[in-house]
């Protein structure tokens, strides 16, 4: 049996985690091993990135029988869309490790390693049962990391997020099984392979509506889309820094990824039909969570909502049904993951030194911690989409896409982004710049390792903003493939 690079990326962290568990390594040692693993994966990811050919089709296929009796296979592959998310995750995780360097236990690092396995598995799976396998298995380390290392009423919020996500994924599970059975009825053999399930033609409209919303539920909870967001605030505020980072910058993006990767090919007609509603739902989320973010005085909660708001924007982009919107969404996934991930890591750092504080109790951090302020500013500028950052490129593209879809949608989203920017600046001024009498003397600046962790993100944010074409060309064939061959609506 031969296994390729994708399997290596998936299972390297898993085996490292298992190895670490069985040997009495200290927390520091575990951390160093975990970091080394993530760097190796980054190199592997780069290798894949350079070898990736510019077509819209799956590459690096790996195919092994798993459960013969039901035609379930260990089937992996990547296309342009998974490629960029893989690159994103491979880059983000070592950076996050550097930011989380001190004061974590062994269990924390083992959970982080296991989560990376789950994420990569979800990203590469081409068999729906395999996908579900990783999608659900990913939840366990998240469960552990929030429950063991969270703050506040952490057990409650852990159970809450678990129950929410499992509710969604169990319905998706039934839908997957239903698709498999339909395929069996039509073709006489079992398969849960993505490319096979796409060709089912016997499903009636009512059935596919149920299936569409079954899948949608799972992904909408994960993202979270309005109105499935009620777990968001509590989980984000009670999670440890690493947990928030994973939830906001990686797992939420996987929800969006899954919509594009699975729902679009499986239900192309319904996808086009419901696109307007979903797009408006996304824009509503942008607006709603944007307003909610302004109401928060806890900085972590504020960014939790701002993150959800941007995810609504991304969803609007993927349902805008044109190259601009889709490319913008893909680009915003990266931009937002880097910026929000970076922001949450920085906030975690701030909490670590001065404790959790409300916005009015902060201020004057710029003087105390100049490096911290610099990176915070870059991330923030990316979030609000200032020209010169990749946030600008992506938000501009999505606004263009939504405008093309419907001018009102474009205007509403542009306006919301603008207003959000003003409020973000206001927050930045109050927290970081403004001199107050508050005591923030415990605040320490970033050390060398943390700068090393933040630097790649900052560099990427700016270089992707200045020269987007260099990064976009890998994904364009895939997006055209989606629009032309799968949705049959052509490149508009």
């Amino acid at each position: 049996m031969e296994f390729g690079l994708l399997s290596l990326i998936i299972f390297l962290p898993f085996f490292v985690a298992m190895g670490v568990l069985f040997f009495p390594f200290s927390a520091q040692m575990t951390r160093n091993i975990a970091f080394a693993t993530s760097v190796i994966i980054l190199f592997l990811a780069f290798k894949i990135y350079y070898e990736f050919e510019l077509t819209g089709y799956l590459q690096l296929r790996e195919y092994h029988l798993w459960m013969k009796s039901y035609g379930i296979n260990y089937s992996l592959g990547i296309d342009g869309f998974s490629l960029i998310i893989m690159m994103l995750i491979a880059t983000l995780i070592p950076c996050a490790y550097l930011m989380l360097w001190d004061g974590r236990t062994k269990g924390y690092w083992v959970s982080m390693l296991l989560i990376q396995t789950g994420i990569s598995g979800t990203l590469f799976s081409q068999d729906l049962i395999l996908f579900y396998f990783f999608w659900e298995a990913m939840l366990l380390p998240v469960f552990m990391i929030i429950g063991m290392f969270g703050t506040g009423n952490r057990v409650h919020s852990t159970i809450k997020i678990t129950i929410y996500t499992i509710l969604g994924s169990l319905f998706m599970f039934v839908c997957i099984l239903y698709l498999g059975v339909q395929f069996y009825h039509e073709y006489g053999l079992w398969s849960f392979e993505m490319s096979d399930l796409m060709v089912i033609s016997t499903i009636s409209r009512t059935e596919s509506l149920w299936l569409f919303f079954g899948f949608m539920l799972a992904f909408a909870i994960k993202i979270p889309l309005f109105p499935f967001h009620t777990w968001l605030l509590e989980t984000y505020s009670n999670s440890p820094t690493g947990g928030v980072f994973l939830l906001s910058s990686i797992m939420a993006k996987l929800g969006v990824y899954a919509i594009v990767r699975f729902m679009m090919p499986l239900f192309p007609k319904l996808y086009v039909e419901f696109a307007p509603y979903m797009m408006w739902l996304g824009i509503f989320g942008l607006l709603y969570f944007g307003i909610a973010a302004l109401m928060q005085i806890n900085i972590k909660k504020m960014f939790a909502y701002s993150s959800a708001s941007h995810l609504g924007f991304i969803v609007a982009g993927i349902f805008s049904l044109n190259t601009y919107g889709l490319t913008g969404a893909a680009y915003l996934i990266i931009a937002h993951a880097m910026a929000t991930g970076g922001i949450f890591l920085l906030i975690g750092k701030m909490e670590y030194s001065i404790g959790i504080k409300a916005i009015p109790a902060l201020g004057g951090i710029a003087k105390q911690a100049p490096l911290f302020t610099t990176f915070f500013a870059i991330m923030l500028l990316c979030i609000i989409g200032l020209p010169g950052t990749n946030g600008f490129v992506s938000e501009f593209l999505i606004i263009l896409g939504t405008f093309k879809f419907h001018p009102t949608a474009g205007i509403v989203s542009a306006f919301t982004v603008l207003v959000a920017a003003i409020f973000m600046f206001w927050m930045f001024q109050r927290v970081i710049l403004q001199k107050t009498s508050n005591d923030i003397s415990d605040m320490v600046d970033l050390n060398f390792k943390e700068v090393l962790g933040m630097l790649p993100l900052a560099v990427m944010i700016i270089s992707m903003g200045v020269y987007p074409d260099f990064f976009l060309y890998k994904i364009e064939p895939t997006i055209q493939h989606y629009l032309i061959n799968i949705l049959h609506i052509g490149v508009k």
């Binding site: 049996m1 092994h64 029988l65 798993w66 459960m67 013969k68 009796s69 039901y70 260990y74 049962i129 579900y132 396998f133 990783f134 659900e136 298995a137 366990l140 469960f143 552990m144 429950g147 063991m148 952490r154 057990v155 852990t158 159970i159 678990t162 129950i163 499992i166 509710l167 169990l170 319905f171 599970f173 039934v174 099984l177 239903y178 498999g180 059975v181 069996y184 009825h185």
Partner: protein, 498 residues
């Protein structure tokens, strides 16, 4: 062809072991440990005998003249007997420590244990309804005594007596059903009942249908389905842990072993009459079982209540049998293996932990358990995850098969209900994991001491569960889920051999 004796040798071994232990019981020199090893020896011999022609399809009536074709040896009975023997072996291996530490167990207990196992094995070999009744009663009677074996505990006596009274009534229903069937068909042989149904119009088999209904009542009682589930929690709770484990996983498998044969060989043509009733039974079993499981504070009672929910899952596949016989039947067989492993692990671990002086009963007793016994907590988590059907455990694959069978037969709504029950089960299974991991450790003097081999066997079970969940054809030589499923299908096929 092998000599006839080889086909019944496993039964003979187990029965002989029971008799030998009974004869040895007056001797005080025989310690509990020795008795356990004698029982193990006979069971291992019996298990070994099932592996000699594992991949070949066969169905043979050994000593057809002597036994009058009342006992059959086929892949089906071999598969089920192997499950039963595995369950019994694990029960003894894990339970030895419990039996030694707790007052009241003697050599006779192991004798009864083997007799009970003998009854269960006979149950899956039997092809004649009176033989089935005898087998069922051998198994049940031994269990009644085993439950109440610790005479000094009121709880045990109460559970034993409750099970005895209710179980006897359900046995009477079986007898009545058999009488009805005999009145209609003039036979009690399972294969001939099937032929009778084929040759006669439905209007002529009404009495037979009545009889089948009575037999199904016994069936629903023994597997604790709604509305006959009320005994389960109290009896499971009242019984000693190893006996509970044995009942929950193994006895349920034996009952299904008989009823599946009965339905698949005989009743596939007329089973439709039962579907509407069964549909309601399933819904209420899932609903009521989930409700009971949520409200429990004691872990043992929670596991007992959740076994009712698992009965519901099994019945979901059972109702699909008349439409997609093969996949439904093999999914039931597979799920029985998955459930037996997970519940055996969970009960076994609980029995091990509580065999010492400090008894842990409720959820709260496990607060912070992961910090004092990390490996045990990890194993417990594996069992909980498997029971909840989370991927990477065998429980997930089992649920996958069950729900595929249901959807394939058009019972999509039932599959959705099953999913909802699974969803509820996340609460009571994950609650234990959360309590073990997310709270600071309890007082250190409560640390259970480590002794004996039991933790290793429990560890082996948890490894099997994980292997069953991810195990695949990647390592070709090692049997995984595919092997179990292939065997289950072979077992199904062997029922069709005429």
């Amino acid at each position: 062809m092998y000599p006839d004796f080889l086909y019944i040798a496993p039964l003979v071994f187990v029965g002989f072991g029971g008799i030998l232990l009974m004869l040895l019981s007056p001797f005080k020199q025989i310690t509990i440990r020795m008795a356990a090893f004698i029982a193990l020896f006979f069971m291992l011999c019996a298990t070994g005998l099932y592996f000699y022609n594992i991949s070949e399809l066969y169905s043979y009536y050994p000593y057809a003249q002597t036994f009058g074709s009342m006992i059959v040896a086929d892949n089906y009975s071999a598969y089920f007997s192997t499950i039963l023997l595995a369950g019994a072996i694990f029960t003894i291996l894990i339970g030895v420590h419990y039996f030694e530490k707790n007052r009241g167990f003697t050599t006779e207990f192991f004798s009864l244990f083997l007799f009970s196992l003998f009854g269960m094995m006979l149950l899956v070999h039997a092809t004649e309804l009176i033989t089935v009744l005898i087998a069922l009663e051998i198994a049940s009677l031994s269990l009644y005594v085993m439950i109440g074996f610790q005479k000094h505990l009121d709880k045990r006596m109460e559970a034993s007596f409750r099970y005895l009274v209710l179980g006897s009534i359900s046995g009477a229903f079986f007898l009545l059903g058999t009488a009805f069937i005999y009145a209609n068909t003039q036979t009690t042989k399972i294969s001939q009942i099937g032929i009778f149904i084929q040759n006669n119009p439905q209007s002529d088999v009404m009495l037979l249908i009545m009889g089948v209904c009575f037999i199904f009542i016994t069936f629903l009682f023994k597997i604790a389905a709604f509305p006959l589930q009320n005994w389960a929690i109290d009896v499971y709770d009242g019984a000693p842990y190893p006996v509970t484990a044995f009942m929950a996983g193994t006895f349920k498998a034996a009952i299904f072993g008989f009823i599946l044969r009965f339905v698949l060989v005989d009743l596939e043509l007329i089973i439709d009459f039962w579907d509407n009733i069964l549909y309601v039974v399933i819904l209420l079993t899932l609903l009521y079982g989930s409700f009971l499981a949520i409200i429990q504070q004691s872990l043992k009672r929670m596991l007992a209540a959740s076994s009712i929910v698992h009965t519901g899952y099994l019945l979901i596949a059972f109702i699909s049998i008349d439409i997609t016989g093969k996949s439904a039947a093999s999914s039931i067989i597979f799920y029985l293996v998955a459930y037996f492993l997970s519940s055996m692990g969970a009960f076994g671990l609980l029995s091990y932990i509580s065999s010492d002086d400090k008894v842990r009963i409720t959820y709260e007793d496990f607060r912070g358990f992961a910090h004092i016994r990390p490996y045990m907590a990890a194993m417990m988590s594996v069992f909980m995850l498997s029971l909840a059907g989370i991927p990477s455990t065998i429980g997930f694959i089992g649920k996958f098969y069950i729900f595929v069978a249901a959807i394939e037969s058009g019972y999509t709504l039932l599959a959705v209900f099953g999913i909802l029950a699974t969803f509820v089960s996340i609460y009571y299974y994950f609650r234990l994991i959360a309590i073990m991991y997310f709270y600071p450790s309890a007082k250190m003097q409560d640390v259970p001491t480590l002794h004996g081999m039991a933790p290793y066997f429990i560890g082996i079970i948890s490894l099997i569960i994980i292997w069953g969940g991810i195990g695949n054809t990647l390592i070709t030589y090692f049997p995984g889920v595919d092997f179990l499923m292939d065997m289950a299908r072979l077992a199904y096929d062997s029922l069709q051999v005429k």
